[in-house]
Subunit: 384 residues, 2 copies
């Protein structure tokens, strides 16, 4: 069998493991650094941030269908977003949507999906992919996930680390060491460390060393192995997840279990609960990803993504945007239908929504979150 653009890997080599593969999409997180575009009732994953004509959530779904099929993609999201998520993903079945009554961070979200799926299908391999990241080259993504599934089948908590194209300070990094010898995963490397967003000097050192990859929050693992790792660092959290999973598929028991257990689960990111301890114990593998990837963490990133990297350009996002620019660059997000005129403003960020306007620069994009916090404190929560 030959490769195609959609299936660039050797199908003959992988059907057995991919047959056991299930995609999980945690669709949470408002994306406060993208306020006033992203907000509580319109989080980042429900926006079209690339001009593709569809939301990031739908892009994510479409990227995963070739790997696991429409029937094997689970979405974990907030109750408030159920209708919007189902509208975006008409093929999503009731058994594949997990609704959170309140956010309990990524270990609870992904761990619950793992526990439910392992109970339904022992030995399942899951891959967790954020709902609001942007990947342009699907073929290279699919190829990397396929290797990751093989490494997961061999028992590793496996991540895909993006080969850095610049010393970015907005991402965490993964430090890799020597190659692992895993059948079906020829490019798998051991991971020695997960590190937080560095300063510029450190980032430059990381990139120059050739040993660091960007942490794209992708985790591919056997569900039982993930639960085992959660149990090692967070035994109470694991107990809660197993109890929830036990009650999940019976309509009579799910509601009471959620009400009783979910609000008390420890809030902890999966990087801390699983990835860092597993890396320290030598149980974490990484597949380098050579595809374009962005978490669109702030407006500087959004501007870059939409201007093809040219600093002199003005990127415009928004249907029917009416923008008149004279000697200006940066990004305009137009959601209000108003005429927007820019004169002589460089590297500007203008986000125009019906009830709130943001004007800043790419350089200050990371400070947007602080403004959101200030708005909360000053009684302007109506626009958050």
């Amino acid at each position: 069998m030959t490769s195609t653009a959609l299936y660039p890997f050797d199908m003959a080599r992988t059907p057995k493991t991919l047959d056991r593969f299930y995609s999980v999409i945690p669709a949470g997180g408002i994306g406060s650094r993208l306020w006033p575009l992203s907000r509580a009732d319109a989080p980042k994953f429900l926006h079209d941030l690339t001009g593709s004509g569809q939301t990031l959530l739908r892009d994510t779904w479409d990227r995963l269908v070739p790997l696991s099929g429409e029937q094997r993609i689970m979405v974990v999201t907030g109750r408030a977003h159920r209708a919007a998520v189902e509208a975006q993903l008409p093929a999503l079945t009731d058994e594949n949507i997990v609704l959170e009554s309140e956010p309990r961070d990524s270990t609870a979200a992904i761990g619950l999906a793992a526990a439910i799926l392992e109970r339904r299908e022992p030995g399942v391999i899951i891959g967790s992919f954020a709902a609001d990241h942007v990947i342009k080259n699907h073929a290279l993504f699919l190829s990397a996930v396929t290797e990751a599934v093989a490494a997961a089948d061999a028992g590793y908590i496996t991540t895909i680390g993006i080969s850095p194209t610049e010393p970015a300070i907005g991402f965490g990094y993964i430090r890799s060491a020597g190659p692992l010898d895993i059948g079906g995963a020829p490019s798998a490397l051991t991971v020695t460390e997960f590190v937080e967003k560095p300063d510029l000097e450190t980032a430059e050192r990381y990139v120059a060393s050739g040993n660091y990859l960007w942490n794209a929050s992708m985790f591919i693992t056997r569900a039982d192995r993930l639960l085992e790792e959660i149990g090692r660092s967070q035994p109470e959290l694991l107990a809660g997840l197993l109890e929830l999973a036990e009650a999940w598929d019976d309509p009579a028991t799910r509601g009471p279990a959620v009400d009783r257990i979910w609000p008390n689960l420890t809030k902890i990111a999966i990087d801390y609960a699983v990835a860092e301890p597993a890396a320290a114990a030598g149980k974490l593998a990484v597949i380098p990803g050579y595809f374009d990837w962005d978490d669109v963490g702030d407006f500087a990133s959004l501007a870059k993504l939409n201007s093809g990297g040219r600093k002199s350009d003005l990127a415009i996002l928004g249907e029917n945007a009416r923008v008149l620019s004279d000697a200006s660059s940066g990004i305009v997000v137009s959601q209000s239908g108003r005429v927007i005129s820019l004169i002589g403003v460089k590297d500007i960020v203008v986000v125009d929504t019906p009830d709130a306007l943001l004007v800043t620069t790419s350089e200050n994009a990371q400070r947007v979150k602080a403004v959101v916090d200030a708005l909360k404190l000053t009684g302007s929560s109506d626009v958050l």
Copy 2:
């Protein structure tokens, strides 16, 4: 009789001439450089640009009442603005409002007022003051006008030139020469030249010389003298104005005369038709004005006016403005009620109206007019 704050001049010296004085307010001009705040249906003079709580037109009226009384102020404005003008000036009588069916520039507007008033009251002295300028010190203004009225009575076309506080490039200049010896107008000087907005180098030279004053478009003159000067440079225009004035005060004849004559009057600014020729002929006098004056010609000027001159401040204009600023300076004009958040933008100009948004910098404020022209060409006249 002693001076007071409102009447700082010697009343005993001036009653005769001031009794003959009539104020004229040409209320025209959209103020395109203040788009999208100023526009066809909401011209500059109908805005509160100083945070005083009332429009510039009303400020102008209030400034003139101590000179001529409410009964002797004539307003020349467009038909479309009649209701708004009358709402601002409840004391304005029907005989004191002159409505233009279309704009024909300042010579026609002021000349028609002069012709009507001269016919009603031969020997009347008129003073023309733009509806959309800002003057803070009323006492010094009144003092200068009182001297100007004396000079006008002596036969001079008289202007008030503002003593420059900086080498502004946004104003025209008046070149003065030696003193005139006019009773009641001790500071009157002859004018040798009216000059257009200069470049910075020229402006610096002007200010350093001490011989130049800013042209504030104030003209005080006997009405008959003004008409004489119009006739000298624009005889056809004068004929039209006299014919209109003849028909004006009879309801049966006014309408037909306006329809027939007004649209055909030559469009020419009073600076060209009257001031420059009169200056060349030695018939123009200037009274130096030492009061704060601004024509609020663009957003840089508006920002300066509202920040007390401090470049580090963010000026905010607009009732119930909801502005959150972090390390930003410049000016925000809020007319939409939306939350406006600025982060790290310096010398910025943000004008937020329900249907149009402008983002620029003080440095680029003069280019706003070009954008308005571009909007006309690109079919966005709905927001002009």
